[in-house]
Amino acid sequence: MSKMHIKLTVNGQEHEMLAEPRELLIHTLRERLNITGPHIGCETSHCGACTVDLNGKSVKACTVFAAQANGAEIKTIEGFAGPDGLHVLQDKFREHHGLQCGFCTPGMITRAYRLLQENPNPTEEEVRFGMAGNLCRCTGYQNIVKSIMAAAAEMNTAKEAAE
């Protein structure tokens, strides 16, 4: 199979590579670039463990070809914590016990981030609906929802303070 030239910006860093057209983005991230935060739970778009942020949208990296992502800006869980420590979502998941085995967590937080960009003030119902593409087998979601609501509140307070 002839290879394609692909350029990706992941968490602010540029990468160039040659890859077969059939290579899935999740494998590019995990196997080539060693970005192992996004996980594989199904490879059929159901579980959301592989969720990354691609050009400002949540996508399931197991059902996107690397070639489709050519030129894209991608943010993964590795791109959240900054020099001042954890991102508020990461911090709230920890504070409200929003994770157990941690396997779904990178996808959950990455999805929750985009959800809160799109809807900074969601109701509990909107959070539950907006997170329905991400499965968790451990937590029963109650504390995930709580974590996201708490993060939204804190992000809004910070925004108000800044304005």
Binding site: N34, G41, T44, G102, T105, Y141, Q142, I144
Partner: protein, 805 residues
Amino acid sequence: MKDLTEDQIERAAKLKGMGTSRKRVEDVRFTQGKGNYVDDIKLDGMLFGDFVRSPYAHARVKSINIEEAMKVPGVVAVLTAKDLEPLSLHWMPTLAGDKQMVLADGKVLFQGQEVAFVVASDRYAAADAVELVEVDYEELPVIVNPFEALKSDVVLREDIKDETSGAHGPRNHHNHIFTWTEGNEAATEQAIDSAEVVAEEMVYYHRTHPCPLETCGTVASMDKVTGKLTVWGTFQAPHVVRTVASLLSGIEEHNIRVISPDIGGGFGNKVGVYPGYICAIVASIVTGKPVKWIEDRMDNLMATAFARDYWMKGRISATKDGKITGLHCHVTADHGAFDACADPTKFPAGFFHICTGSYDIPAAFVKVDGVYTNKAPGGVAYRCSFRVTEAAYFIERMIEVLAIELNMDAAELRRINFIRADQFPYQSALGWEYDSGDYHTAWDKALKAVDYEGLRKEQAQRIEDFKAGKTRKLLGIGLTHFTEIVGAGPVKNCDILGMGMFDSCEIRIHPTGSAIARLGTISQGQAHATTFAQILATETGIPADSITIEEGDTDTAPYGLGTYGSRSTPVAGAATALAGRKIRAKAQMIAAYLLEVHDDDVEWDVDRFSVKGAPERFKTMKEIAYAAYNQAIPGLEPGLEAVSYYDPPNMTYPFGAYICVMEVDVDTGQWDIRQFYALDDCGTRINPMVIDGQVHGGVTEALAIAMGQEIAYDDMGNVKTGTLMDFFLPTAWEVPNYTTDHTVTPSPHHPIGAKGVGESPNVGGVPAFSNAVHDAFRAFGLRQSHMPHDHWRIWKIASDLGLHA
């Protein structure tokens, strides 16, 4: 206990010991994507393995041609049973005393069975080659129903067809595995024969699957230079895996290192030993390169570790005012193609004989027949302690059916039959000694919390309204009072492949007063790194934040039997507490020496030893730790370390009262959970936040099982639910908020009184959901309807009851 002074309370709070909702130390890594799961492991030159699987449920394998597959660039080897045979690894022993094909040896017995193992440079090449392996099959008749299997002439297991006896005694048919009984049959029959009221019912607990979000996988690496084999994998019992690997391969045990890295959920799925592990190890030995094998989701649902599949025929008898006199149960257990159930050796039906539940039943008898069918092997304890979920579901359904027979309120029927608090320790008719309980208190608290009487009134009104055509929604009140049995277990009667089910903890206190502790268990999300440190903080006075917990590496951790069956807290938790007490005992001698008093003249004071009657004269644990390493103390060895191997004297018996209030739509079969109340009594509570989390997760798994999740087969043995499209895992959208509550009845035989909680919510949750569905239709004549209660099945109940007319 003396009341603590303000100063003591302050010092205790700093320890973050038992009883505090300490935040999890694991989360800093996990929230940043810095977990290290098996598929994250990458080694130089690593190869990737993948299976050719059988599309048929029963077929003869006439030939396998690997020629085309070998031509795929990157393909290194294709292993078949023929390659494994010289090593005697084409079959492997199962946990249940049976054997299982590693790769198809002449025939296949279930869809998805492993036929050949392709090893290639990457997963794409492996997948390409899998497609090109040509297997010539000759189809054979398929049996997916255990009752049919026992009547059929078709021999499933030709390898043992002439054996009249198996690991668990006589076999009475070529598709029969074992018969196992417990209790007094004559007394039970007599109680039932002479009873005023008898209820009889077939209760089916369908086949399902634990389906953790991370599938199973391994990386095996044989270092030809040192002769050392290292195996990383999704193992809930890494030490047992090492021993088994040594016995099977002939490699000496010290030359095998098994590591369970972070595990993305287990729920029983990762207890078993699967062909993928063996094939990866063999492939690494053959190629001299590390070999990775990771299941995909379909492999996982089709081939590794189903749960349940119990047909439970029950009879329960009572006086006409509701006092239960006898319980009889005959289980037909579908074990699939190989008996690979994960149960302690002597218990082929696990602890199913906890099926008298929370009730004082004078006579009981159970009989379990294990049967082979053309389905996947497994029979793991999916968030359950060895068939306890099946037992709890059985008795909680039988109680409901009896209540119908007696025309009695099901809450009241439970109340008058509960084992009373003054009867503990209680000897059950099926041979268990329940350690402690106070069921009436828990029950009353639960009923009051949900306003049970108010709910019943509302339900009666709803039925009126329904009959009057004012609503199409019925209200179900699902009651459950469950008793679990966990913490396997006493070595005298519990072992896995001959390994006694003790557990262990080893502690080293460093000179500056911080510590590391290693255990024989392995967390799969249960927060061991957080909670075991809390036990030690309370026991040793060292802050939990200064204690590292490590598990899962057999080169460093003490031998233990692993984490499943809610055994970590009851067994390893006890070992941890006792190891901590050994540390304290030595610390006491050191403190007395430093304070120049007799050993008996110092007393423990939260985080220090002080002179009795003179609390201002003390040595903190930090000071004591330093002294242990830098002072020559007459009569004492230097250092401060301890190890404890704990063999529990008994199991623990957590219990709980769960109530589910559900609306069901008669016309669409849709359900809506209005309220779910979960009261758990797991004895002493180590970390309430973690306990709540366990309950939320366990109840959600119960919801899945009761309301839609199943591994279903068609008559040809095709798996109909092999992807997450068909296999129900609830999302945040379907799941309600739960109310959690508790009572505390410590275990009298456990060093800290803790009983374990991880599995209770699944054990109690399933009957609560199912009983709610049944209860909604009770007034219209429903007695028993099989799970899972998906929308179609609920619609069907309504239809069969004539409610659509």
